[in-house]
Structure formats: C-alpha cells, structure tokens
Subunit: 342 residues, 2 copies
DNA sequence: CTGAAAGCGCTTACAG
DNA sequence: CTGAAAGCGCTTACAG
C-alpha cells in the first residue's frame, strides 16, 4: 500500500505538505499544490494508515461497546444505536460479549486499552466482583487519563448510569398499571440478585406495591438467571406454594420464558394470569400473546451514549441524562378474571 | 501510560530486551533478566501499545464482520460465532451494519483498510452494485496483498461462499417436506431479487418443485424486502389472485411477518395454510405457532469463518466448506386440510 | 505557503 | 544472552 511518502514524492512536495492536504487539517496550502497532492493520492490509491496516526494521537477512532451478549436483542439494539451515531463520525464499533463473566470483561478492557480505543461504552450492568472491578477500574483510569471516554449506560459499581433510564420508576409504573387492572397479588421474577439493574427493578416492584398499599411478600419474588430459562424456572418455582394473579418480570426474556412455560402448562394468559415484561425488545411485540412491557429507548441510549463520548473526547464534561420509559400495554395483561391461582 | 522505554529503564535493560520478554516472543532471555522486566512491567502497569506493534506489522488483531444489521438475529448469531473464536485468539471484533447500502459498505471497507484490520468477514450476501463492488474489490485486493484475510460467508459478486451452506439444497429439502405433507400449491416469498442468497433460495424452490413434478408458476413468487414487513406485504399480494395451501419463505423474518399478517386476517396456521421459514433464527422457536424452518449453523459459520481467516493469516490456503442445513419442522406446517385458498 | 526534523512505541535484523 | 540502531507511517511545532 502506498504511504504518504510516496504520495509526496509523486506530487513533488514534502511529506508535511502532503499530510496537510490528505488529512484535511485546517492549514493553508496553495490550491495548485493541493490539487497535485490529491491527484497523486488518487493515482496511488492512497489510504492513510490509521495506526500511524493513532500512534501519534495515542488514540484510534474506535468505540467499544461492552455487552452481555450481542445475540440478546436488548444489546443488539443498543449497539446499533452506537453504530448509527459513530459511523457518520468515522468511528468503528467493537462489540464485546462479556457473558457477564468478570474475567472476560477484564480481558476485553485490557485489550481495548492496549488498542487505545477512543471510547468504551458499558451497555451491560456492572458486576459485583470487587477484584475484577478494581482491575477494570485501573485500566479505565489509565484510559481516561489518556483522553479516552468511558460511558455507562447502566448502573455500576461506581455509580449511576451516565445515559440511562429510571429502572425503578419504570418498574413501579408497570406495577401501578397492573394494580390499575385490578391485580393485588403480583409475583416478581427478579433475575439475578448480583446485577445492578436487577436490583433497581426489584426496588421499583417494591415501590409500586408500597404505593398501592400492598404488603411486600418475599415468597413472591424469584431470583433466577436473566433469560428465558430463568422465566420458565421462575414459573415452576412459583406455581406450588404461591398465590397470585399476575407476574411482573425484570426483563422481557424472563417474561417470554414464563409465557412459554405457562402455555406448556395450559395456563391461559391473560385469562388466568397476566404477565408483564420490561425492556420492550423487538420480539416482545410478536410473542403470543404479545407482551405488555416497559419500553426502553434502547437505540437512543446507544446514540446518546456515543454523543456523550464525543463530548468527553472534545474535553467537555460528561452530562448525565435519564431517558424516559414508556408503558407498552399489549395482550399479555388483563384484569384478573378468576380467583388468584393457588 | 508507561511505555516499553520506561519498563526497560526501571528494569535496567535495553528496550530490545524488554520487548523480548513482554511480547512473549520466543527468544532467549536469562531468567533473572526476564524476572526483572516482568516486575518492572507490573510495577508500572504496563500495557503494550497495539498501535505501535500494528504499525510495524501493518496489521492489527482485529476482525471485522460486515452484516446487514446487527439487530437481525441471523447476523447477531454469526457475529457471536466469530467473537467466540476470535476472542481466545486475542482478536477484537468490529461489527459493520451496512444496511445493504453499497455506499455504507464501501466506506466501512475503506475504514477497515485504513485501520489495517487483520481480517474482514462478509456475513451478508454480496450486493449487485458493479461500481461499489469494484471499489470494494480494490480495497480488498490491497488488504489481501498486505496479508489480510477476506472471508465470505455468503455467495457474492465474485463467487461462492468460503464458509457457507447450500442454500439451494436447503430450500429444496423444505419444498420436498411440504410436498411430503401433501402440498402441491406452494407459494414463495422470495425476498429481494438483488441478493445472491435470495436467488439461491429461489433456485432451491424451483428445484424442489421440479423434483416433485410440480409446474413452476411465477404468479406464486413474490419479491419484497427481506424482513417482516416484506412477509406481511407478500401475504397481501398473494391473497387475491393466487391459489395455494402453503407459503415457503426465503428467510424467517419473512415467515414471521406472514404469520402475523395471517393472524390479523383470521387465517389459521397451519389449519388453513402452512408457513415455512428459512434460517432458524432463535425466535423461530417461540413464535406462535412455532415456525417450521431450515436450520443454518449460524454460530458455527462465524466460528469457521474466523478459523479460515486465521489459516489465511498463517499463510495457508483458504479451504471452502459447505456446512449442512437441517430441517426443523415445527407447528406452522401441517397437511393441507381444506381446499387450497383462493 | 512550504519543508526539514523530531518523535509516537514498538520489533527485528545485526553485531557482539 | 544483550544492546544499539533503523524504521513502520504519520503529525506538528519550528524555521523560513
């Protein structure tokens, strides 16, 4: 591949001049010289070496997004939002599926530091692992002091999300909606207790109950993994001892797993039981019955996350924002029509 | 951030020696010296600068995956497969959602070239745009001659997939299965005619019909976009004039869109009409009814794609492989129970 | 407006 | 086993 040296030689100018025209920096170059350089660059199919430039700047126009799993539609949406904003700015996006494994996450962050990524955006909730958090924190501090931008889209060990939603209020509003439908006995599939988002949503459930004057019953709260398997398992666990007319879930996969298990069991939703999710992942609209859930502006979070990164890269302060959630009531919820399930 | 110069100074050795121990290259260094360098590196929290190394090698351990849209589960699965293989090897993965737009794709490839990505894997089918294909081809040729690995997971302008599936045979087998169920009038939602995969699947449909001795009727073939909207539109287009008992679709989103539209119309699936998809995207198992489809080993394609890239990077020849497809017959297909729809 | 030169942080022949 | 030096491809003060 042709380097700037060859372009300069062909154009008959110094590499300084060649650099000034091809890098589109704001520096006076005569029109004639500029044209000659541009011609030479085109003739040689010159493409600048981003690595050389990055070495100088100690930064490469790449933004990484740390997700739990890119095949989880929640994260795919966020990544897409980041990409939509990053791409026009000339940034490439790296996706890192951490599988919520502290070691994987640490190794990704280290790699990103080594690559001098301009920004790392945490889409996934922070983990509660002090040792890896310390290690990751060390790398992030080094990157930050080197000019990189770190943005959190979820609550994490060190604080709240930089661009996020009010998980607690969102969940409280769903509980309020269920209560409005007539439900008083509402179970909660909480997901893992080790995740910050999970806790915020559980807090929202409790707040929703409290505001409706309903006593919290911990037997109605089930902790499982944050996926469809967890939802199915949650239903199985609840179904013996507990008594309830609705199940609120801490995220959509949980709700979809519950829906599937309930269908297997021949329990009609929403006839016998209402089910609600959280996130409004795209598939939530096409489950059967379609899922009542809380809509999160996932792409917008990605876009805003990148916008914040750009702001930080430009030397400005990061400004925290809380994006609104919205109730999306569909067909999986209805007034309780029969006595509460035993 | 500490550089190797500082590590060398603290350890009291030359940077050459320091480099030899931290870069884990196979070069004799005395145990005592090695230990001193390692201690110094740890004390300084040294992380090598991948940009400097990349500049020298003219290559950075990054693999890019060109997809249509990362929020499309098909591509998310493939990307995850690439990541699963790339991550242990120390490679980061960049995702590029081209939206099947020739210009976006071109600009991504150019950016990737400028970044000296070690490999670019095309997960999405090639576009039929001669001009952008020429431009992209130019960049890829330059990258290849620089040692980068280019791998295709789908048929494209210049040839077949390097790691792919037999789309034609896969679709033919689905048609055969529908015929086996008793269907003779089978419509086909073909997706866009500009995509190479789309064409291969259409060819499979024709082959399946031919092998069953059924005359091809072009009025039964509808071209739309490759998404749920296209599926709904396809149903609307078919429903007036055509007569058929089953709809085979060129991919799952098309089938899911058809399912949704049919449900709106009150047409029972599979009672009145059978619907089949293609890809076996994860959600296909949880639609209602669950979708009969052709399973593609999506993650495996990603993993194998990266493995091929590594082979090429090692100077070996790329060896093409065709992975098997598998029929996944679920609840959206059944024998035709009523007369063909008018 | 133009250019010579230093330097970003590494690796790798080459010499000892 | 160890080190001095060149060089990867750029950008940017600095001088003219």
């Amino acid at each position: 591949m042709a380097s700037i040296t060859e372009v300069a030689r062909l154009a008959g100018v110094s590499i300084a001049t060649a650099s000034r025209v091809v890098s589109a920096v704001d520096y006076p170059v005569s029109a004639a010289t500029r044209a000659r350089v541009l011609d030479a660059a085109a003739a040689l199919d010159y493409v600048p070496n981003a690595l050389a430039r990055g070495l100088l700047k100690s930064q490469i126009p790449v933004v990484a997004v740390i997700v739990h799993d890119i095949t989880d539609p929640y994260f795919a949406e966020v990544v897409r939002g980041v990409e939509d904003a990053a791409s026009p700015a000339g940034y490439l996006v790296i996706t890192c599926s951490s599988e919520r494994d502290a070691e994987r996450e640490t190794s990704y962050v280290r790699l990103l530091r080594s690559m001098r990524a301009a920004s790392v955006i945490f889409a996934a909730s922070g983990l509660d692992d002090p040792e890896s958090n310390r290690e990751i924190g060390k790398h992030l501090a080094a990157m930050r002091s080197d000019g990189a931008a770190v943005v959190h889209l979820s609550p994490h060990a060190l604080g709240e999300a930089d661009v996020g939603v009010d998980n607690e209020a969102g969940m409280a509003s769903m509980i309020e909606a269920l209560v409005g439908l007539g439900h008083r006995e509402i179970a909660f599939l909480a997901g893992p207790s080790s995740l910050f988002v999970g806790r915020a949503r559980l807090a929202g459930y409790r707040r929703g109950l409290a505001e409706a004057g309903i006593t919290f019953d911990e037997r109605l709260v089930i902790h499982t993994s944050f996926d469809r398997e967890g939802g199915a398992l949650g239903v199985d666990t609840l179904l013996g001892p507990a008594r309830f007319t609705a199940i609120a879930c801490a995220n959509d996969p949980l709700a979809m797993g519950a829906l599937a298990r309930l269908a297997d069991l021949g329990i009609d939703v929403p006839g016998q039981l209402s089910v609600a999710g959280f996130d409004d992942v795209p598939v939530a609209a096409i489950t059967s019955p379609s899922l009542s859930t809380v809509r999160l502006p996932l792409r917008e979070m990605g876009r805003r996350g990148f916008a914040e990164a750009v702001r930080v890269l430009g030397g400005e302060e990061l400004v925290s924002t809380v994006l609104p959630t919205e109730l999306a009531m569909r067909d999986s919820t209805a007034p309780p029509r029969v006595a509460a399930l035993t």
